[in-house]
Subunit: 664 residues, 2 copies
């Protein structure tokens, strides 16, 4: 048999050579973790390179994503659709091997990593999803969901706050099939970490209730293999703390931050080849090493066994098996559209005046009845966000249920939701105050970048929040969310728009959604059938002008009713304006030019009204239009007083329209 | 003497009555922490209510800011300028007692809190500033800087990731004058925390190297007093874990989340009065309790002693004392403007083609020579952000120096910088990649809200980052930063603009600044004296049209040179355009209408060019203009290829201008 060090050296050689060829990248982590990677991928990982979508595969997350050549090497060597040419194209335009591992670009990459701490959070989400799906679908004798989630991470991930949030929760939820390898190499970009990172990490993870395996020699295969065996046997999540040498093998750069984030250089690569006894040219791997690394045969056998198990399961539990397939494929039930249309009709008939967060809860109630894949939750604001519903079951240590109490962990929640979504079988939604979308912001972006479809619920959406004051009153948040590419943001005006927002969010396959809801009650706005149907276009005429069109008022959420009152006041003076409700600029921007022009006729002056930062709306009103919006932070006071204070009054909207008409 | 429980009950009564009167707020934490508050404020805190600005006062931070009535009660009772009428106006418009404590609104409130976890981070910054200022200014026999920083926090702060970041660093830096009281009441908004928060918090803080005082009865004055004494004697930061009952005193709601975030209700308040033996009407405090609570006399004496000490210090070290006063007052040296002007002249003469992050480092080198209050740092990217300089001294466990290795802790860094700024004596600046401004985002907002002036340095500002790919390439970040009210964002085009950006940032007194710099080299753009002087206006004509003005190109940063090349190409075809460099829209927006019109003449078509999200620029180009910008995420590839791929070419800019002219 090819010896283990040759298997590890294949990783080292590919990594240092690819980084050298790209003239950028991070050789240190792949070289330092190569021996651990052999113990995990060669000896333990259950996966099938021929089918990266096998539902019961082990999940692997490289949370220290800058070490991307490690996973690319592993995917290539074990037989995934990552060729040697792909490795030669490391970090080149449109290659399968971008600078950081990107979900959707490379077979076998389970999630996009690089922004530190989020990979481990994704993995906690995956490990939880595995538990929940197992609880929901496994039956006696049929463990159709039964595998591990493995994570590599480094000092950077452990310094990031999000690692605290999710590892704490993983301990509380006792996710014992989560196994984390800590690459304890003592080096970060600024140098030796002892000046800025002196945590007793084993003790820290003990405080979370984890199984901690300290002081493992990360270059000793037996020690790592024993640790993995012990981790798999544990009834708690496990962290294996591996002492490693960064850039291991490089005689002059190993153990220093010189090997962290830059090519080793030609001379040092030559010296490294000599030091590790690797006599092959760049990107040349001997056939016997390829053969030993290949996981194709073993993987096919493993999946084959599972396919047999699943066939027997399907025979015994046909409906459950069909539902499992639907859920894992991420498909909506065939009659979903009809169901949603019926619900919307009921809502329109009811015409309730309630807060849109309450309307959201009603939508959740209706949708969860049809979609058991919906997995709710909140960052300790269940009763405020109203993301819970009648009949929901809290996920506790028993690892079953459909409502997660994430605790006060907004960023952790959002990144876990990404992991749950990537895992499959569930459509997570999670709530917090709109303000604290900021704590979670980069996870929302990662969802957009990965083209996945979690649903973020953000309530208390403006100064309408009232007394809690400017620390909690969103001003610029809705606008900044709208600026994330591939991110659909809805700010509905009433119960019907709230339901449609939910429906569109659920229907999105490649786009995450942020749903923005009010704390305060909003009146129902009467709609005809065409208007109801147009909501999903993101912007529509909610109230037509009663005479010659002079201007268009564009409003969202709580300000639509205000715009309609201003319309009435202007009409009384003979000035006829139209009101456009624009709950989703994302959807509106994607309509055809004819539709857009039918809503916002070219050349007609426009005024936007939104209790959010004004700047965003110039995209729609232009230099000649005007915006009734916020230009400062809010204040602590009852909501009604604040709307007056900041100019959200009929009088001010009317005067703003007149000002625009005078200037035009 | 008035007994302790009466002192505590005064807090309880004021808190429940004010929340009831406002009909919103959080009585639970003030009532639960009242006994701890007596032990700290009545027996330990060194402060002078008559002078909340006394530099050597103890700092107190209510990190669980929703319990604002606790600090308002304490400020009122101990004699600050917070009247009983102010308490009656709790949460009303323009009152001194907003829903969450806000810096600048209320004498004695050291920082704005409410967004959980940031208060403790501010406090870690304050405790560090105390150490650094002491190291810099104290002399034998003259401990002019020598006090404690105290923090109250709850489960929420401890669940938030940022608490991990800053408490870990506080342990590494051994900030032994930081004393944290953990309000361990077992309740968060969703209910009893055991379903989502089961950390062994004492063990967690031991893992950070803290002095941990576990299992203190938070309602036992002797126990709390003993813990404080032990904390003050420790050579490590201390956490005192206090078991408390939320809403203590309320017979039917204490110990439940019903007392957390809503008024107790009239009946329960009556029952509470009876249960705690408080016979006074709402907002009535007996004179003997006022007398016992008052810290006026003791505080005046304490400050008087210090004034004597400082006078002796000033006699022995007159220059040091003068410098201390300047630093604490936050004043720039009298000759700063002249110095800066001279530096700018040198930079203009040198006309270097370098990355603006390197230009930033040069600016730092020049400014630190003049301003010893500049306290640099980076979240583990010193060599990439180039926030270090020749001669800077890393802050280590010795607690002196002027450069902080914050570790991979972006949010913690930013919130600590806010705390350092609030403390006084230092002007912190800290760096990370622009992408990871998102991790820190809410702390940037808090700086803007508090009207303080830290300087955030964000490098690697666009797809120009290249191979690291879309996870690290900012697209929407610069635009979203510009949407924060009271936040100045600079994206300079060359060395001169980079220096002016730094100068303006340093000169801001009430506004934080985000400085956005390139990874890649940018050419120096020749300027005359007027142009050099106009940089600080945020937008100026960097290249005038050579004939009849047809259009204006507005560009920032790396795209200004591109705009100038497009200008030349258009001129060759007889189409004359002007190029406006707009490094700071914040500053430009604040110029008078005449100046703005002289730069951007009304009615002239405009095209904006920025390698960032396009949407933002419609504010300046309107519906008839156009934007050469990003509408998607980037890719992993060498920077040059990416600029081509995404349309940042002379050809595309030229065609875009022509398109606008054709449509006009």
């Amino acid at each position: 048999m090819v010896n283990r060090s040759s298997l590890a050296n294949a990783i080292r050689a590919l990594s240092m050579d690819a980084v050298q060829q790209a003239n950028s990248g991070h050789p240190g982590a792949p070289m330092g973790m190569a021996d651990i990677a052999v113990a995990l991928w060669h000896d333990n990982l259950r996966h099938n390179p021929a089918n990266p979508e096998w539902p019961n595969r082990d999940r692997f997350v490289l949370s220290n994503g800058h070490g991307s050549m490690l996973i690319y090497s592993l995917l290539h060597l074990s037989g995934y659709d990552v060729s040697i040419d792909d490795l030669k194209n490391f970090r080149q335009l449109h290659s399968k091997t971008p600078g950081h591992p990107e979900y959707g670009y490379t077979a076998g990459v389970e999630t996009t990593t690089g922004p530190l701490g989020q990979g481990i959070a994704n993995a906690v989400g995956m490990a939880l999803a595995e538990k929940l799906l197992a609880a929901e679908f496994n039956r006696d004798g049929f463990p159709v969901v039964d595998h591990h989630t493995y994570v590599f991470l480094g000092d950077g991930c452990l310094m990031e706050g999000i690692s605290h949030e999710v590892c704490s929760l993983a301990g509380t939820l006792n996710l014992n099939k989560l196994v984390v390898f800590y690459d304890d190499n003592g080096i970060s970009i600024d140098g030796h970490v002892e000046g800025w990172f002196t945590d007793d990490t084993p003790k820290r993870f003990e405080s979370y209730g984890w199984n901690v395996i300290p002081a493992v020699d990360g270059h000793n295969a037996d020690a790592v293999l024993a640790a993995i065996a012990s981790a798999k046997a544990s009834d708690k999540p496990t962290i294996i703390c591996c002492k490693t040498v960064i850039g291991k093998g490089s005689p002059n750069k190993q153990g220093t931050h010189d090997s962290h984030g830059a090519p080793l250089g030609k001379d040092e690569i030559t010296a490294t080849r000599a030091a590790i006894g690797w006599e092959h040219a760049p990107f040349e791997i001997p056939a016997d090493i390829y053969a030993e690394w290949s996981a194709k045969e073993k993987g096919a056998a493993q999946e084959g066994e599972w396919n047999n198990l699943f066939a027997a399961y399907a025979a015994a539990h046909p409906e459950l098996a069909a539902e499992f397939k639907r859920r894992v494929a991420g498909e909506l039930p065939a009659d979903f559209s009809a169901y949603a249309a019926e619900q919307l009709k009921l809502i329109d008939e009811k015409a309730e005046t309630i807060a849109t967060r309450k309307a959201s809860q009603n939508a959740i109630q209706a949708l969860t009845a049809k979609l058991p894949e919906l997995l709710g939750g909140s960052a300790d604001l269940a009763g405020s966000n109203l993301t819970n519903w009648k009949g929901c079951q809290s996920v506790k240590v028993d690892q079953s249920g459909n409502y997660l109490h994430y605790g006060v962990r907004e960023f952790g929640m959002a990144a876990m939701m990404n992991g749950i979504t990537l895992y499959g079988g569930y459509r997570p939604f999670g709530g917090t105050f709109l303000m604290f979308s900021e704590y979670a912001r980069n996870a929302l972006r990662m969802a957009s970048l990965m083209k996945i479809n979690p649903i973020f619920v953000f309530t208390h959406d403006s100064i309408g929040l009232g007394e809690d004051g400017p620390t909690h009153q969103p001003v610029e948040q809705t606008a900044t969310l709208r600026l994330i590419p591939n991110h659909d943001v809805w700010r509905p005006a009433d119960t019907a728009e709230s339901f449609v927002a939910w429906q569109v969010a659920v229907e999105h396959t490649n786009t995450p959604t942020s749903l923005v809801f009010s704390r305060q009650n909003l009146a129902y706005l009467k709609k005809d059938a065409e208007q109801l149907a147009n909501i999903r276009k993101g912007g529509y005429v909610i109230s037509k002008e009663a005479g010659e069109l002079k201007a268009v008022l564009i409003a969202t959420g709580s300000e639509v009713e205000l715009a309609m009152k201003a319309q009435a006041a202007l009409a009384a003076e003979g000035v006829h304006v139209r009101v456009v409700s624009m709950p989703s600029t994302y959807m509106f921007d994607r309509q055809d030019a004819d539709y857009k022009n039918s809503v916002l006729p070219k050349g007609t002056p426009r005024v936007a009204v939104e209790a959010g930062i004004a700047d965003y709306w110039y995209k729609y009103v232009g230099l000649e239009g005007a915006v009734v919006g916020m230009t400062t932070f809010g204040e602590s006071a009852p909501a009604g007083e604040l709307f007056k204070q900041f100019g959200f009054t009929v009088e001010n909207v009317v005067n703003t329209v007149k000002g625009v008409l005078t200037a035009a």
